[in-house]
Amino acid sequence: MICVQHLSFGYTPKQTLIEDMNFSVAQGEIFGFLGPSGAGKTTLQKILVGLLPHYGGSVQLAGQQCGRHNANFYEKIGIDFEFSTLYEKLTAAENLRFFASLYRKTSRSAGELLAAVGLQNDANKRVSDYSKGMKARLNFARALLHDPDVLFLDEPTNGLDPTNSSVMKQLILAEKAAGKTIILTTHNMQDAAELCDRVAFIVNGSIRALGTPHELVMSRGAAQVSYTYLANGAECAGSCPITALSGDELLQTLLRQNRLLSIHSSEPTLNDIFIDVTGRTLL
């Protein structure tokens, strides 16, 4: 569905924001763009949605070069921005009606979409009276109006409470189940791990790591087993990789003598990969 080959881009000839980037996204896949602020994620998304046509290399979406797309291009993609992109003076229903009227194909009912995001009772309320979370849900519904083949979601759970965040994730997975290709840009590693089939860590305009969340987590090394025990009346701690448990003499002794106070394993997470790859902590 999306094929990026040797992509390079800069706003000026001397500047290189993205350099020799390669990746592809299959139909029905959820692909995550992860990376620190300023890494080039938004620039990459602008290129993919055809807003920055002057790039080097090849960027194809649904068989079209994104920089030279035809009028039909935007019938195929839907974008849920991180920020609200709605007319504040209009109601939710009026907003959806207006945006739907811009498309030739409108295969989704605004009422059903509002119900799906839990806004059916607020359909006739002005968007200016909506909370941040309600606007985020309405934004998502707007992106789905024309039943696009490719969805770009930028921080879709940002500003949502845990319940609505869970509902949003279910909706995203439902779109995937319906065969949609989804590009997810997020700082939320838990969302990425839960939703994405594959993720790409973007740092300084290049992909530093790409794979399934499980592959990336496993590539960091095995989980650690941490334990505590009493020695000379004081609580001490020890740890070893889960793959080397049988070789840890101290642990074997503690197990035989039933002297363990606690024991638990800690698997690496995408957050650890993020820190490894980017050298930064999440803000």
């Binding site: 602008k46 949605v49 055809g50 807003l51 009028a71 935007y74 019938e75 993609i77 974008i79 921005f81 920020f83 609200s84 992109t85 709605l86 007319y87 504040e88 003076k89 207006f98 945006f99 009227s101 811009l102 498309y103 030739r104 707007r142």
Partner: protein
């Protein structure tokens, strides 16, 4: 095409919802009535009172020119304020990635208001004109006025971040229209040519001398102004 029509309809609805913009768009009619009926009546009163042949009559061309510029300028000002609101609320970003696209957005928010401004001028001018001008000159004034409306819309969007700033920039931008006064006020004084960079000055010269060459100069100047503002404007609407 459908998206452009829908986008333009959306613009008209946004203007209708905003009473200030609605008033701005109806201002040319009020000005036309005042010019057509108020100015000759005032002229008659002044000439009677002062006992002279003509007081305002030599300036009638300027009144006609202001009417021709006012209509598209107000239409384009209203469109610019809607664009500012859409940029501020990020709606512009969302519209660019719909079938409306960048070209459609510019068409519905800049080109069509300019064209409608010109069309409205062609309707209002024959109704409220003070001078009987040749048809080609009427068309030229309407086109020149519309082009200046476009410049003002681009200035307002390019250099403001919200509607309040937009109002201030619109007031400053309207100074561009003052070039029209120079040929009438300064008459034979060569100092007037200091304002030759203003399209309104060239338009006034075209009207005063009934000279199409000045009309071409005015339109060419408008093209230069628009080209100079295009980059600033484009940077404003992309998210």
């Amino acid at each position: 095409m459908k998206a452009v029509a829908t986008g333009f309809l959306g613009l008209l609805k946004a203007v209708r919802r905003d009473h200030m913009l609605l008033a701005a768009c109806s201002a040319p009619v009020l000005a036309g009535v005042a010019f057509r009926f108020g100015v000759p009546a005032l002229e008659a009163a002044l000439t009677r009172w002062l006992g002279t042949g003509a007081v305002l009559a030599p300036w009638y061309g300027l009144f006609d020119l202001m009417l021709c510029m006012l209509t598209p300028v107000m239409f384009c000002f209203a469109a610019a304020m809607v664009v500012l609101e859409e940029v501020d609320s990020h709606v512009a970003a969302a519209l660019l990635v719909t079938p409306l696209g960048r070209r459609g957005y510019l068409t519905s928010r800049l080109l069509l208001p300019t064209v409608f401004g010109m069309a409205a001028t062609l309707v209002l001018y024959p109704l409220f004109r003070l001078l009987a001008l040749p048809v080609w000159l009427g068309l030229l004034l309407a086109a020149g006025g519309a082009a200046q409306g476009l410049i003002i819309a681009m200035l307002v969007v390019s250099f403001s971040t919200n509607k309040l700033e937009g109002m201030a920039i619109a007031k400053l931008s309207s100074l561009l229209l003052l070039g029209a006064f120079a040929p009438y006020v300064l008459q034979q004084n060569k100092v007037q040519y200091l304002l030759v960079g203003l399209p309104s000055f060239a338009l006034a010269k075209a009207l005063q001398g009934q000279n199409p060459l000045w009309g071409v100069v005015s339109l060419a100047l408008c093209a230069v102004w628009c080209a100079g503002l295009a980059k600033h404007f484009a940077a404003k609407i992309v998210y």
